[in-house]
Amino acid sequence: MVVYTYYPGCTLKTQAARLDSYARVSARALGFELEEIDQWQCCGAVYPLGTDEVAAKLACVRALMAARDSGRPLVTLCSACHHVMKRVNHDMRMDKDMRAKVNNYLEDEGPYGGETEVLHYLEVLHKHLGFAKLKEMVVNPLSGRKIGAYYGCMLLRPSAVMEFDDPENPTLFENFLKALGAEQVVFPQRNECCGGYISLRERERSAEMAAKVADSAARHGAEELITACPLCLYNVNKTSGGKLPVVYFTELLAQALGVEAEEEEAAHVG
């Protein structure tokens, strides 16, 4: 069985446990295993944009080094973790100054030069397994379900670093949905912001922004939405009040593959 080194991130241990548990059982059904890094630390949830922010990147660098030492790619699930991990890795590979500063902090463990390949779970399905193969392994096709893929910001932008998909016209999640047998609904706001962390202090603003996303999806015929981001899911669900349910993409994957979350993991999924 193919094994990937895995970075779950904080939210996947609590509020977004479903994103994690369904990913693991689906992985097993698809023939690969996610092996969680020991003692990982929080990625910080937002990428430290200031060019002088060094310490804030160390947690990611440690995870990236652990993956390098495992000799395997590092797989992420949460959009935020993926964003931060991918960008920090990019800095370590491309930004000589940042690399030198970070490595100064890492006396014993270092140096690190961005050698790890960071993959989103969806990229594993797309690049390593292949959506054609995935389609063959589907036992419960999601026929007749009209599903919109809500990408949000962090998987796509900045595209020069994220290299995930076309930032304005992405297709990866749609092709994923097609492989699961669902009817994919493309809607224009699928790459727009849900309001992000503004919902902590100004709920009405994120409500407004998330409503734009949900309305756009509904207007184009979506009856449910998928996402890879716990914060997108939270903001859109708060707004739509369940009218347009938002679920993690791994939940649909597990449904289509006909697998259940295992008991101990299911226990988390309250």
Partner: protein, 130 residues
């Protein structure tokens, strides 16, 4: 310590943004989802930086309204990176003040609900506190 006259250059260094490359096309402001909540608009940040008015940038509502969705960075035809200029102004403000006028750590517990994801808490803390 850097004097006040050095603030614009300090901001340039922290942001890594290329304000001189801006041709004032307005695509950043056209793309911004938080535009209405900003008193200084994304495209104006370049002008403020060019004339050195960093205080106004730091005290703007923009530094709290920007959500780092990177739409302006993605679509800018000159690779100016407006969001990074805004971010640098915010960083300079919270580094100077330590505490933020936008939200303090003490306020946070009452802003939570049972569904609040950790991701929200962590990102808000990272963005709003030193």
């Amino acid at each position: 310590m850097l004097g006040r006259t050095d603030l614009p250059n300090r901001l340039r260094v922290i942001s890594g943004a290329k304000d001189k490359d801006c041709m004032k096309c307005g695509k950043c402001s056209a793309s911004c989802p938080s535009y209405e909540k900003m008193d200084i608009r994304p495209h104006q940040f370049v002008s403020y930086l060019q004339r050195g008015d960093v205080d106004a940038m730091m005290n703007s509502t923009t530094v709290w309204a920007c959500l780092c969705c990177y739409a302006c960075i993605e679509r800018c035809p000159r690779d100016v990176k407006p969001a990074q200029i805004i971010e640098a102004a915010r960083l300079m403000l919270i580094r100077r003040q330590g505490d933020t006028p936008y939200v303090s750590a003490d306020d946070i517990p009452e802003l939570l609900d049972p569904d609040t994801p950790q991701q929200l808490l962590v990102s808000a803390l990272r963005k709003y506190t030193k």
